[in-house]
């Protein structure tokens, strides 16, 4: 039973950037969306900077898919926050957006996260596992689950402190457990170590896992949950040209053969729907 899914206004719309600041290795910026509905956790938007989007090398050319890290306000004056990790020309452009600039958005798009009960009737709690930039969709999911009274544990992993800044902003004082690969704080190692402990516990039976992060981490989470028979929903990434099912470019192999279109059938998928979370990686 798929989660109810807000409809996007047709086309794309120009939004004002109301805030933008570096936030622990990443950049967080806010746009004011006066037309769109509140997105469901896990949904994403297709972003371009506007007329000058195309860069000096002729790229970026296509819009870029970005998850919602936080929403506030109500439809009509909705504030959408995006967390940006610069990996190329498109994110570099988005990273340059300053307060007062305008930004073209289309969305919300995609299949959001489900509630634990929608996945497993007798589910009693949720475990969120976020890594790096992948903490973005975990923040609204956590709020959503907590607001529905779902007992939720949040595990977040980072390269180093440098990249964990946004935790403060997005998770505030909510209780989270952090892992740092360089041991600069929290648990020294991978966030999956923390998940392993939970999956070894007796209460795992009632748990549903939700995860977003680097492909390698997602694949580890997917495998671990599979071995323990714990259902997991993963927010995946793949190169996207359109975000609304038009280009068929975002193919991810399905367990039963063939491909799903990640932009419409995902980005949130069940761990057992796919053969690997490392699509296209070598």
């Amino acid at each position: 039973m798929p989660a109810e899914r807000p409809l996007a206004p047709f086309g794309r719309r120009s939004c004002r950037v109301t805030a933008a600041a570096a936030d622990g290795g990443y950049r967080l910026f806010t746009v004011l969306d006066e037309e769109g509905p509140a997105p469901a956790p896990g949904q994403f938007y297709m972003l371009t900077e506007g007329p000058d989007w195309v860069g000096g090398s002729g790229r970026p050319f296509l819009p870029r898919a970005i998850s919602v890290a936080r929403t506030s306000g109500d439809p009509g004056a909705l504030r959408l926050e995006f967390l940006i990790d610069v990996v190329g020309p498109g994110t570099a452009r988005l990273n340059e957006l300053e307060q007062g600039a305008s930004c073209l958005i289309a969305g919300p798009f995609g299949q959001p996260f489900s509630l634990p009960r929608e996945i497993k009737p007798d589910a009693v709690g949720a475990v969120l596992v976020g890594g790096g930039i992948g903490i973005a969709p975990m923040a609204p999911l956590r709020r959503h689950l907590v607001s529905r009274g779902v007992p939720t544990r949040t595990l977040l992993g980072f390269r180093d402190r440098e990249h964990s800044g946004a935790v403060e902003t997005l998770f505030g004082c909510e209780e989270t457990r952090l892992a740092f690969e360089d041991g600069s704080a929290g648990h020294r190692g991978y966030v999956t170590d923390l998940l392993a402990v939970i999956l070894a516990g007796d209460d795992r039976g009632g748990a549903v896992v939700y995860s977003c992060g680097p492909p390698a981490m997602l694949e580890a989470v997917r495998k671990m949950c599979g071995e323990h028979g714990v259902p997991v929903e993963l927010a995946l990434e793949s190169p996207m040209a359109c975000g609304f099912g038009a280009c068929f470019g975002c193919a991810v192999p399905k367990v039963e053969g063939g491909y799903l279109r990640l932009c419409v059938d995902g980005p949130v998928v069940r761990g057992d729907q796919i053969t690997t979370a490392m699509t296209g990686e070598v």
Partner: protein, 305 residues
């Protein structure tokens, strides 16, 4: 501005179509709901290319962004003829605009099966033949060979009274000779350009980026190539031409009309703006006005000096 036109018998309230495979109304309806139909972006809808057997398409990666364009190697994923006819087709016929179904096969016999099955369904306005694929018998790409193209048309022409549109490939020395072959074989219309053969390297892994090794280039980068081919084809045949390749706005659409196209199609720009079709139509109206044209028909009739 009066944008109405008639495309090989099909009455259109405007000349802006979508390029096959660049807009999935069924998926778009899931994303945008009823708003899509209320502002339907095209004056006729062209389906993605349907084949006899179902196809799941090419392995990832399927996309590569290029300077002012993109390469795709999607591999024509589609449910196959039978499932299409019983499923998606029924939904597409319900659209507020005429429906053109795109089909591809690897032999004249298979093409015939597709054309007859589609033509048998009420509410289909036309059939586009995607000939950018090898003939299993000759091994030759039909659309690259005037003779193969004409032969194919002679087989298909008798099977239906529906307009038959041949989608030309740009990967030839002389698209006009292929267009002429299509015309003498009985085609009612030609559309061009399809994507231009291209590839991308993934230097970090010493492989081609695309799962299928290569793909097709589209977007503004190819517009100057498309304009040259549309102009050459339009002056070589008497049947109408649907021009496409890098159309992003009214100005670029007008370029194609002036180059001899009767109608235009928007492809890649749909990915950048789901409502690109609406924007191109609006932009075309004002572009015509700026140039002192009183109607689309007047621009269609004008010839380049």
């Amino acid at each position: 501005m009066d944008l109405r036109t008639r495309l090989c018998g099909i009455e259109l309230d405007g000349p802006v179509l979508n390029g096959s495979g660049t807009f999935d109304v069924i998926a778009a309806r899931r994303a945008f709901g009823a708003a899509l139909e209320e502002n339907f972006p095209f004056s006729a809808f062209v389906s993605k290319t349907i084949t006899g057997p179902p196809r799941s398409g090419n392995p990832p990666h399927r996309l590569w962004e290029t300077p002012s364009g993109m390469i795709n190697s999607i591999g024509l994923p589609n449910p196959g003829l039978d499932q299409f006819v019983d499923g998606d087709l029924l939904e597409l016929i319900g659209l507020p605009v005429p429906l053109i179904v795109s089909v591809m096969a690897d032999s004249a016999e298979q093409f015939a099966v597709l054309v007859e099955a589609i033509a048998a369904v009420d509410g289909v306005a036309g059939i586009e033949l995607n000939v950018s694929c090898p003939n299993v018998h000759s091994g030759l790409i039909v659309g690259e060979q005037p003779s193969e193209t004409e032969a194919l048309m002679r087989t298909l022409r008798p099977l239906t009274t529906l307009p038959l549109i041949v989608k030309l490939t740009p990967n030839v020395a002389g698209p006009e000779t292929v267009a002429q072959a299509a015309e003498s074989g009985g085609a009612d219309c030609v559309s061009l350009i399809n994507t231009v053969k291209a590839t991308a390297i993934d230097p970090d892994h010493g492989r081609t980026w695309l799962g299928a090794g290569g793909g097709g280039l589209s977007g503004p980068a190819v517009r100057p190539i498309a304009l040259a081919q549309v102009r050459a084809v339009a002056s070589a045949v008497d049947i109408p031409v649907i021009g496409m390749g890098g159309i992003t706005d009214g100005e670029s659409a007008l370029d194609f009309i002036l180059a001899g196209a009767q109608a235009v199609a928007v492809g890649t720009e749909n990915f950048r703006d789901p409502a690109a079709g609406n924007a191109v139509s609006r932009g075309l109206a004002s572009a015509l006005e700026r140039r002192g044209f009183v109607s689309l028909a007047e621009a269609q009739a004008s010839t380049l000096s």
